[in-house]
């Protein structure tokens, strides 16, 4: 299937979901640097009509889910059938739940689970960093990379920019992994939903390559059969 992908820019409608989070601008600019048009929107019809949907996000899961609920986008996002790519918190929102209810150190151990979009059956938990410092902030390497089309031309050892304290554990939905005290999912996918824990929009040339892979993705490549590690 990969050889069927063309390098030609498609005229499809690309939409970044306006989650009210802060990295909308940098995600938009990253898409535009690749020569593609993209619209930032929370309009239900526009999101449904899109050929490709990007779900960005920074900050806490609790705050972001509250925004998505306030905009009545929960079922809209859950029913999308076109390829959807989540970045960082956007990836975490694709899971069943996150323990990132209370985030700052002042809040102590009174975490409460935040229910997420339940698109990919895994749960976001505190990153088991062991002796390493948190947040996990900076450029780290991928330790496993699957043959998922989003990782076309991406290899083990490539650096991406991570900023997080919570992560999805390795599971059958893991399509790339990273190590920081323990191994965690650097990316997860199920059907048309793909999420990256790192920030492709801030990961230099290789990050742009992932965004390009997504924009050029032929949605028929994402069939029911999962691409395994």
């Amino acid at each position: 299937m990969l050889e069927m992908m063309t390098k030609k820019k498609t005229a499809g409608l690309n939409v970044i979901v306006d989650t009210g989070c802060a990295n909308l601008a940098s995600v938009k600019f990253a898409v535009e640097r690749l020569g593609y048009q993209v619209t930032v929107s929370d309009d239900v019809e526009l999101i449904q009509q899109a050929d490709k949907v990007i779900l960005p996000g920074v900050g806490s899961a609790k705050h972001a889910m509250a925004n998505i609920k306030a905009k009545n986008l929960v079922t809209v996002l859950q029913n999308l059938t076109q390829p959807v790519l989540g970045f960082c918190l956007g990836m975490q929102l694709m899971t069943e739940s996150s323990t990132e209810g209370k985030q700052t150190s002042t809040e102590g151990g009174n975490s409460e689970d935040v229910y997420c979009l339940k698109l990919i059956p895994t749960k976001v938990e505190p990153l088991k960093a062991h002796e390493n410092r948190l947040p996990h902030m900076g450029w780290n390497t991928l330790t496993h990379v699957s043959n998922h089309p989003i990782f076309n031309d991406i290899a083990v050892g490539d650096y991406f920019y991570f900023v997080h304290s919570f992560a999805a554990p390795v599971s059958k939905y893991t399509i790339a992994s990273c190590e920081y005290g323990s191994t965690f999912s650097a990316a997860i996918a199920k059907d048309n939903f793909i999420g990256c824990q790192f920030h492709p929009e801030r990961s230099s040339t290789l990050g742009s390559k992932i965004i390009l892979n997504f924009l050029e993705l032929d949605s028929t490549e994402l069939n029911q059969e999962q691409v395994k590690l």
């Binding site: 600019f29 900050g59 918190l89 700052t104 150190s105 947040p135 996990h136 900076g138």
Partner: protein, 262 residues
Amino acid sequence: MLARRIIPCLDVRDGKVVKGVQFRNHEIIGDIVPLAQKYAEAGADELVFYDITASSDGRVVDKSWVSRIAEVIDIPFCVAGGIKSEADAKEILMMGADKISINSPALRDPELITRLADVFGQQCIVVGIDSFYNKDANNGKGEYQVYQFTGDEKRTQQTGWTTFDWIKKVVSLGAGEIVLNCMNQDGVRQGYDIEQLKQARAACKVPLIASGGAGTMEHFSDVYQQADVDGALAASVFHKGVIAIKDLKSYLKDQNIEVRPC
């Protein structure tokens, strides 16, 4: 493995990149956007923009350059200076900055750190600390002291905080990263303050960035190996072409220090 970060710092004054020696006598280095682009392409891991006028003169500062930087670069960047409220932070982050750094406003209102971390997440809240070693303080035993309003020489003043107490305080309030600027070393290129950074390292579990004193490639390897900092920030050695980032990374790799290839 997580790479040690090399972070060029661009001090911004009136929309231009400037550099002074020990915070004084600022000279114009160039325009912001082309310099940002140049460093991103050269292999910088992150950029920091300090609007050095903002905290000290209290006026509303034009921040549209933040958006222009976000448009052209594909590495993370942090904006510091003049961020006094959630609204200020939101404006900068919505324009495309990845992190915001607060310094004097955190000293005036420490709870601001917690409020920002709650809304935007701990990961994008950096606290910048200007630390001065006063050798006569503490009954002549010497003491690291926190200063504020360092962007303006006339208003620069000592605070009641010692550096390590303030580090512990800001981490407890929710800071996601510390940039420790060692004022005695700033701009004089005699090396990072290893002793101070070691003590700062011991005082905090969040990422720590060294700032002030870089003059040679050895200074970078020393600070990573001896003070275990996550990143090292420098300005003049990069702006004046004393060290090329590509050469620096190659040198550090030879010293077995983990770096992201250019």
